[in-house]
């Protein structure tokens, strides 16, 4: 509990059986159980992001969040040294100034402290990180009795690292998934949440969902039994609702019945308004999208999003505001169902065009790697060299995210035309426009909500 005391040395991890027994004795539900009961109660489970470097402060943070906001699941957000396996850097910063860490270095702190955290609160914990190779972290998490683990061989590689080959991350995550399979056989279903949020900014729904499907299929093959597919709120209501509703449809089409699938929404993950009132409008909006789209879980934001990692109070306030979306008094809201149905059809069509050829290949992992190399699979704004980022998303005049450039995605002519049509009226498509104009247009699309709220695009103080 005392950060200035020497850190526990690398210690032998308990066996899977011991960890499963530990979870059973913990006396709290697993993440999978919480998700299942939220779904059957038709409410959206809420989860904050939270992670600080110091163990003592992490305890306090979790306890305070639970006491004041009663989230359904709590996060251990891991620092970005740990996610890149720079454990020595994490240790160095931890010893020098834990407040400089942007997350909790679980591997460095060790699983005994993980159990301490787990025992401190009654909500189950999830590890949120961004590791292309999360094996050490996963083992520490299981030993800590933590029942939900985010990531995947694609979604925790391309947005998070520069040069890790996909083959490597896919293999590492295959191992994590297989460990989950083993745990499931021993009686512990770990919720494996896939990070369909990707690079978060202007992600076309069909890209997010296609990656979700590929990782889910891979996970299911290794014995994973509970999959959460996450989608980042894009900002266009009917498109976002359709994307969430696509998740059960995709699960039915691509996954065995034995796998439980949940839809997770990330409240808007792009440029956030700076004014508190505007940020709160956006937070509530995101929560309503989750509710009306039928998401099982919502990952919340705070009014400090534009500024930096929020303080506890802001995190609590974000959760409480989002929980208004679970109000029993919103039955009066009806939606433009025709428009949603149309978006849903398009999304399912695009996802099929992207994933069907990949799933038809004999070796899924090899095919994923070579499809990314060739651009048949792609994500916008890749942090990694191993995706081409030839696809360019833009917003249509109504705010929907469309493909401005489809790169080498194996899209039908019909899909391509529909996307072009959506953007044509935006003037975004003027083929003659120079790079400068394109960057200007993209920037405006990224700053979408600033425009909605009439905030200037000036960046927050560094």
């Amino acid at each position: 509990m005392n950060d200035s005391a020497p850190l526990p040395g690398p210690s032998g991890l308990p066996s899977h059986d011991e960890s499963v027994a530990y979870v059973k004795e913990l006396g709290k539900p697993t993440s999978a159980e919480v998700l299942r009961s939220a779904r059957s109660a038709e409410r959206v489970a809420l989860q904050p992001r939270c992670g600080v470097g110091s163990h003592a402060q992490m305890m306090t943070l979790l306890r305070d969040l639970e006491r004041h906001a009663r989230p359904d699941v709590l996060s251990l957000t891991i620092d970005s040294h740990t996610r890149l396996k720079r454990f020595e850097n994490a240790r160095a910063v931890l010893l020098q100034n834990p407040a400089d860490l942007n997350g909790y270095p679980l591997v460095t702190h060790g699983w005994e402290r993980g159990r301490e955290l787990n025992e401190a609160v009654s909500a189950p914990l999830e590890i949120r990180h961004g590791s292309p190779d999360a094996r050490a972290l996963f083992r520490t998490a299981v030993a800590s009795g933590i029942t939900s683990f985010e990531g995947g061989g694609i979604s925790y590689n391309l947005p998070y690292s520069k040069a890790v080959p996909l083959a490597e991350s896919l293999a590492a995550w295959q191992e994590v998934d297989a460990l989950c399979g083993d745990l499931a056989e021993r009686g512990l279903v770990v919720d494996r949440e896939l990070f369909g949020t990707l690079t978060a900014v202007l992600v076309p729904p069909s890209i997010s969902l296609a990656i979700n499907v590929l990782e889910a299929v891979a996970a299911a093959r290794e014995g994973v039994r509970c999959v959460s597919m996450a989608y980042p709120q894009g900002g266009h209501f009917e498109q976002d609702v359709a994307a969430l509703r696509a998740i059960p449809a995709l699960a039915a089409r691509y996954l065995p019945d034995s796998v439980e699938v949940h839809a997770v929404l990330h409240e808007f993950m792009g440029v956030f308004p700076r004014e508190r009132a505007n940020a709160e409008d956006l937070i509530l909006y995101g929560a309503l999208v989750a509710r009306l789209g039928g998401a099982t879980k919502l990952i919340t934001k705070t009014y400090l999003e534009a500024y930096g990692i929020p303080d506890t109070r802001a995190n609590v306030d974000g959760l409480l505001l989002a929980s208004r979306a679970n109000s029993p008094l919103l039955g009066f809201i009806t939606l433009d169902e025709d428009r949603i149905a149309e978006e849903l059809e398009w999304i399912l069509q695009e996802v099929a065009e992207i994933v069907d050829p990949v799933l038809a290949a004999p070796d899924l992992y090899a095919e994923i790697a070579s499809a990314f190399a060739a651009g048949r699979l792609d994500i916008p704004f890749s942090a990694s060299r191993h995706a081409l980022s030839e696809i360019i998303p833009r917003r249509a005049p109504d705010g929907a995210i469309r493909y401005f450039a489809t790169g080498s995605l194996p899209f039908s002519g019909h899909t391509r035309k529909r996307n072009a049509r959506g953007l044509a009226s935006a003037g975004a498509g003027s083929a003659g426009a120079g790079l400068g104009d394109m960057v200007k247009g993209l920037t405006a699309d990224i700053n979408y909500f600033l425009n909605v709220f009439g905030e200037s695009p000036a960046p927050p103080p560094s």
Binding site: S80, R86, G308, F381, A383, V439, L442, S462
Partner: protein, 149 residues
Amino acid sequence: MHESETRTVILGVAASDSHVVANHLIAHALRAKGFHVVNLGTCTTVDEFAEAHAEYPWAEAVLVGSLNGHAYEDLQDLPAARARGLLGCPVVLGGNLSVGSRKDASHLDRLRALGVDVILSDPALLPATLDELRGSRSSGPVPVSSTAA
């Protein structure tokens, strides 16, 4: 010192940091203005920046983005590199430079103490800043703490 017709800059995101959207946009924008941008992308260590500078010694500046709050830790090796005579050009830093939502000025001071020459928040100011740096460079040493942040 080699002076090519097109002006060159080295761009990248700090070592522990994978936030890349601004990096893409800045690269595009500077290219649209005619710069040759050597973009090292995300997760770039000080050593990698130094190697790139050794390869493009005529580069006017190294532009580092850092969003995840780890700027200080990620630039720990900058004084050592400078001591070894590397990275002799101005280092310009921008982004979200410390962990947390309430920033005080001290975190900028410690970055300057590491050898960061310019701290900028708005990337739109980069071209003007680069012009100014070039001007002051031809007339004297690198300014140590000009800042628009």
